[in-house]
Subunit: 275 residues, 2 copies
């Protein structure tokens, strides 16, 4: 009986999710849709955003600080909803944390391998994600598919400027995708949580022979499977969604709502250095 009560309270603990800024909200949104009963806590490291151009050591340090904060909030599972942090910090966090940790890279790579027919997969991401070659390694672990990578450092600022369509963004998309399309890829992994907002332009440029693989959806499925396996799916009637940032809560409310596809009403600023 006591065991049952313990499990019930475990089940209703929140899932922790973090990213360098707003981008991870696309992952949180996918998790919230797949698992509407889950309590979710999001941390956006807006004092250090973007991670894509930062060093491995710096990203590991930031990630550890955030994970410590989320653990204090009694999470049952941690999702690294940021490609650069998944690339650099997943192994370190898996080793050091007492809860399961899921990044966005392995789920994205698995989905691409499942989808590809001609075994030619394209990966687009930030400078950090691409130079870490994490998607490439994740694909190679489970398949013999060929992988072609392209860093797209202008996509994040274009999305944050709100230029999700128009001629300029179309031209930037074309510049970055052309080398990959020449390789005849049939699957393209959106290896950055900002990129789902460019889906229309990416699909148009890639053409109907290329499927877009969104890591956010793949990661949400992975989270569901992990919780099912451990019998930790929430049975709460109403889920609580909490949002924390390291800088600029007002801006996060405004821009974050676009990424989350829902209005964000309350955001709290936390100074991790003081903790």
């Amino acid at each position: 009986m006591q065991e049952k009560i313990k499990l019930a309270s475990l089940k209703n603990k929140p899932i922790g999710i973090f990213d360098s800024g707003f981008g991870g909200l696309t992952v949180m949104s996918a998790i919230s849709k797949a698992l509407p009963a889950e309590n979710l806590i999001y941390f956006g490291d807006t004092a250090h955003v973007p991670y894509g151009s930062k060093s491995r050591d710096a990203v590991i340090k930031f990630s550890k600080d955030i994970a410590a904060f989320l653990l204090k909030n009694d999470i049952k599972l941690l999702v690294i909803a940021c490609n650069t942090a998944s690339a650099f910090a997943l192994t370190a966090l898996k080793k050091s944390l007492p809860v399961a940790v899921i990044g966005v890279i392995e789920p994205g790579a698995k989905a691409a391998v499942k989808n590809t027919k001609n075994r030619k997969i394209g990966i687009i991401g930030t400078e950090g994600t691409v130079s870490s070659a994490s998607y490439l390694k994740a694909v190679k672990k489970i398949s013999k598919a060929r992988v072609f990578q392209q860093a797209c450092p202008l996509f994040v600022p274009l999305v944050e400027e709100g230029w999700n369509k128009g001629e300029i963004t179309q031209a930037v998309v074309k510049t970055y995708l052309t080398p990959l399309l020449k390789k005849n890829i049939d699957s393209l992994v959106l290896g950055c949580t900002h990129y789902p907002l460019l889906k229309d332009l990416l699909a148009k440029t890639a053409g109907k022979n290329v499927s877009l693989i969104d890591s956010a959806t793949a990661t949400a499925n992975e989270v569901k499977e992990a919780l099912l396996k451990k019998d930790l799916l929430s049975n709460a009637k109403k889920a609580a969604l909490k949002f924390y940032v390291s800088d600029n809560p007002e801006k996060f409310k405004k821009i974050g709502s676009k990424f989350f596809c829902k209005k964000i009403n309350k955001v709290k600023k936390i100074c991790l250095e003081k903790m």
Copy 2:
């Protein structure tokens, strides 16, 4: 006699210069050209770059931490070689530091007022600089000229991607400048230290009736005047140039050299949070 020795050693103390990343190197380069005998110490806060999208409070905190580090290095003068930090932190640093502090905004505003004939000045900068309205206030303090502002958040990532020319950047430049050109400005202040690298495209789009005002050169002149006035110009035969960053020293060497227009050989990483 002792007084003279004291002044001589004061003269050869370094000038401290800081920015959120590489951009301030255009200011350091201008200072080094105007004052080749000065010892210079540069700090690039590459763990937090860019400042343009961060909050006022965060930028003031970062700036204070950096100023404390530079003071430990016994500087005689501090230059805030970053428009966002000048906009947000100049007053706070002037109040709290024992050395003179010079930002890039007042020199740029003065140079624009001196140059304009039709009293219509355009300002381009980051989101932070523009929303602080610091150039506008600095111009209004000394003149009745009209000021028109435009935030250009894509310029920094374009420069950092190395896309200083080409059709895409040309189109972005045109999009941002058109509203200012419609106002019939005759002077355009490059209110971000990255923008001198876009000078050719900016000049071409603005046309020959608009003068570009580069804050870097204006700031170097202000530094020279301040040191002359206090009789603190260096008489060193060979100047030492030192570079510090909070992240990614290797990347700083590589990209920084473009901004500094000279090879940067040695860069040291400093963790300010541990100091």
